[in-house]
Symmetry: C3
Subunit: 472 residues, 3 copies
């Protein structure tokens, strides 16, 4: 069979022949393993209603902030990419026009993971063998559009084709989980589970925080105007999420700050943030305290806790006003973990039955803070390279900077963290290849023997995620 140049069988393996051969052997052992996707943002409606994806632009371009931020950085207005404006102002609606504009800028992605992911999807899902350029844009559009109409390209068929054993979506604490209920009612057996994301009711600076609290009370029947009622609402809601398969909660905070206030202090703080508007210091302290409260609840109900700190959201004021959240203007900032996590760790860090998974957008913390912390505290594990670092170089740096102090067994496998469904196999494939490349380097330099590397490759691909996220 001729090799498809978009997906060379040796891609991402080390160039040196002997090391490459080791990487290949390792990869052969794990390439077939099912996908565990314990942290991501796919839309449960896809699996609930199993409707066809509408067109190539809507599938690949419009919802992907990796794509539109890059085009925007080179002067392409978001309107031309069909991104909806908050004011309802006119934007491009012709998917073929959006696709062609995308094709004209495809060269911008040279050397980026987006290029790897999309080439993988083009090649493996749509039998495309050529690099997208303006000249073939129409033809490739037609090819993809035609396939998307076929039953085998519906979400559930792709889910099975992708060999997904379990996938977690992420829902707000206020989400009724109706789509998850619809999946259950449908009788389809694909394992799609939810994740408890309470930011809208734990962050006093979240849009609509006060009305969110009211809604939180309605949903749970708890009196969320009192501290104890509010905590009970969380307990109930976590149970509700667990009944839809949730094994984890997720917390996206600007910093990793935690606090451990007395009951009286916490109660008084809660009353203050319930008054509008909370001061910046109170808002931060409340978020900090809520991480600790969530950890205490995890000790009881067993939900794995994920902390995703360090992104300054909506940095671009004008864009935020015109287009809203998640439009590519989230910028990482320096993140301290050593002091920030101490209150939480003083309380629960020594609990071997608790799992707190730490992520970072600040790679300087890998070797300096995160690996030493996870290499010591029983409750801590390290999440994989995240967001801007979910890439070949980013994952290599993650392994190079954490392994020697934390080892492999304080890490938790890969997260695709994506809303781009078709990129999921590509993302997991990249992660598997990078891990095999890294392990092959250890074997080739005699830091690890090949037999052990086989077991490790399986652990990094499958076993560690299964264990850390309680997916068995």
């Amino acid at each position: 069979m001729m090799t498809n140049p978009l997906v060379h069988p040796d891609r991402l393996f080390p160039a040196e022949a002997h090391t490459r051969a080791i990487a290949r052997r390792l990869y052969e052992r794990i390439a077939h393993l099912p996908i565990l996707s314990p942290h991501g943002h796919t839309d449960p409606r896809w699996f609930a209603y199993n409707e066809a994806f509408p067109d190539p632009a809507t599938l690949f371009v419009v919802p992907d902030h990796y794509i539109f931020r890059m085009l925007y950085s080179q002067g392409v207005p978001l309107e031309k990419l069909g991104i909806p404006r908050i004011d309802g102002g006119s934007v491009e609606t012709n998917p073929r026009a959006i696709w062609k504009l995308f094709a004209e800028h495809w060269h911008l992605f040279r050397g980026t993971p987006t290029r790897l992911w999309l080439d993988h999807a083009f090649a493996t899902l749509f039998d495309i063998h050529e690099t997208l350029v303006p000249e073939n844009a129409d033809r490739l559009y037609d090819r993809i559009a035609e396939r998307l109409e076929q039953p085998s390209y519906r979400p559930r068929a792709l889910f099975e084709r992708f060999n997904i054993e379990a996938i977690a979506t992420t829902e707000s604490a206020l989400d009724p989980l109706e789509h998850h209920e619809a999946i259950r009612q449908s009788g389809w057996t694909g394992r799609v589970i939810t994740t408890y994301r309470p930011d809208s009711v734990t962050d006093p600076e979240f849009e609509g925080f006060h009305s969110n609290l009211v809604r939180f009370g309605e949903l749970t029947g708890c009196d969320t105007s009192t501290w104890s009622g509010y905590l009970n609402a969380h307990r109930k809601r976590r149970q509700f999420f667990k009944s839809y398969g949730a094994t984890a909660s997720d917390h996206g905070h600007a910093t990793a700050c935690t606090a451990n206030l007395t009951h009286a202090e916490a109660e008084a703080l809660f009353q203050r943030v319930c008054q509008s508007p909370a001061s910046a210091a109170d808002a931060e302290l409340f978020r900090a305290q809520m991480l600790t409260e969530m950890a205490k609840m995890s000790l009881v109900d067993g939900l794995v806790m994920q902390i995703h700190p360090g992104s300054m959201r909506n940095h671009n004021e004008r864009l935020f006003k015109q287009f809203g959240r998640d439009k590519g203007a989230d910028i990482p900032t320096q993140t301290d973990y050593v002091s920030a996590l101490k209150p939480l760790l003083d309380l629960v860090g020594n609990e071997p039955d608790l799992t707190i998974i730490l992520f970072t957008l600040d790679e300087t913390a890998y070797a300096r803070e995160l690996a030493p912390l996870a290499g010591h505290y029983p409750a801590l594990r390290l999440g994989p390279a995240w967001w801007f670092h979910d890439s070949y170089e980013g994952m290599m740096r993650f392994r190079e900077m954490t392994t020697e102090t934390a080892g492999f067994y304080n890490t938790v496998g890969f997260n695709d963290d994506t809303r781009a469904f078709c990129s999921i196999p590509a993302r997991h494939d990249v992660a598997r290849r990078v891990d095999c490349a890294f392990l092959a380097g250890l074997v080739a330099t005699h830091r690890l023997n090949e037999e052990e590397a086989y077991g490790l490759a399986e652990d990094l691909t499958y076993n560690l995620a299964k264990k850390a996220y309680h997916l068995s």
Copy 2:
């Protein structure tokens, strides 16, 4: 032809044979391209008056802070290297003695870019085939000295021999540009352009700030005792610099702080800093505001803006008192960009016709802050690895840590940033080789196809600098 061991034809290419072959093929395509040097510190007098360089020590040792800081770090007094003292105290004046002292310490530069640069100059300009050691110091001195007397070693001849298409010098806003005028009058057609560097009149802590403002008024005919007159003086002076070819301004600040004050606030601040001495906070705020003012002027007059933050100047107090500025005691510090640039970006970050080029001495910002910012804001581009990072490892880290998020097309090619004229071809050659090595790595690991890499190599070497700096 026998290979000169000082400049092995495969230097800086990856050791692995297959990848090296790719790097070689890429390099062959771009090695002949002319040099664009859009940011540097060569002396316009060289090109204006075209006098012979006096001797090897004065050419290579005395003005090069990379060299004398290393010798100083190992206990060699600056006086012995002929560095002039502020108090006029006696220093070594015999260039041969300086050269011999330099030769005795040449081993200190093993593994450094200085070694690469000088070996390149020794080999390609002076036909030297041996490593400098005390034993051959006299002989090599004579060889170089003899050549320097020849007409083909005069500045203009070297400029042409170096295949320089355009070079930018950097002049203070107060500089009369008389040497640039002399170049123009001479009829010589080499393209030597100036750059607008206003630190002496935008930084209230600059030596002589208040008298600088007076002089600024005299030069422009503007009333620089008022805020609007002061801004007008900048506008006029920028036009004057543009008339000598300037396409860019350059700003060397201790931090990347920007501000966006109201007119009234800015006016009041200007009046305060005009009083001596400005408080540290006012001085910082004024520098911050002036970055924004310069950006607003750039929107009108089209000058590209370069921000070079993060150096603590003159860290060594005793040395500064004895020898003055730029004596190798500038030390990088942590630099924040995310908060610091926000006021500027809120105002002009979305302007696709504005180009602001960001540099850093704090590599932790590459992946965390700079690539995400430049990968989003239309007005931002990333300058190349700078100063301490203008080296093989430094440039590799730059590409590894910025490409996956910002791509290649949000970068602007290479800057040599040097006052060491003879090192210019070497520095550009190192940059080209590193880029070819990096691209070859992408090709060898099937992250990029070789055809695309050819185009990219040309873009990184020539096209991106031409476009970003408006050099067409």
Copy 3:
């Protein structure tokens, strides 16, 4: 001879064949050189009384915080590893049980330096050829235990077998150095020297600071209730340490802060910290001032000064209360050097006869701060990759991020920094191999010629440590 798979002769050398061959040639030149261990924590009693090590667990597991922190991070209680509790509570005392628990968790160390070190000791000291697993744990225990009873496994015999030319231990300023006296009295000629570590009397937050001052006065006959008496006590004690071979002092501070107070300010500060308790600010300022005082004394008595900043000690409160210091809960923090060291450097940074060796746990400082500082100030040198970074990747990053700015000659060779005696040859071997691998990379990419690399390999292995630590 069959290769022992635990110690492949090419381990840690680059995978690429040509570069590997260079690394091998370099290593062959330096493998036989004696060990200089100028900074470490071995127990002088071993050499004084030359008693047999009791058993494998007590030798390898119980005292090694790299080992027990990793097992603890995966839920193994420290009690089960035989770590003594402060309250005298019961802990495992059967060394074979501890060893078996260790064997069950040996896979956690895959990819870590601990694995390299112990495999090296197992192979070279105990002729073990197989990876430790639960199944062979008993057999390997017996093998090691049997050898430990032999005379050739006593400390002095091992010292000679390890080819140690000189080793420094570290003693508190209050230590009577009785074991060093016993070594001297014994007539054994192994060179075991002490190091002056005054933290217990320079850090007002050290346990027992006030009584330590009293004891300090008793030991020296100085009036340590006055500033000048206190300083004199240091001077006397440093002389005493010098009489037991000390060539260096060592300072472990939470930050790198230094100060240069007037005599009156320092005197007043001393009086304040003598009152209990000192404020946090005073404690920090006193530590900062004492670094400068130590540097001034070094100018007189010639002791080399080592600064080890940046560890937040005893981060895990519960563990600290149960088990005390040094139980694996020390976590690195961000460390500033540029501002922190300025007061010290303003005073003594330009002294070519003073040597101050800087260490870091914050790798972001390598390229940004430490290499530029050491590449300028005559008094500064860079210590090797430390603690969490004493590993293949850590040492590579050290060379990659410091060499181009500071060169090799502002570094000081390797420190093993260990209390694990049997790991010393392994640690030095790893360092030598990494340096040879790094140099081989420079040679293979034609950044250095092989002849020079031979000399450099010797310098990095032996000459630089000998010179920097005054060990000739």
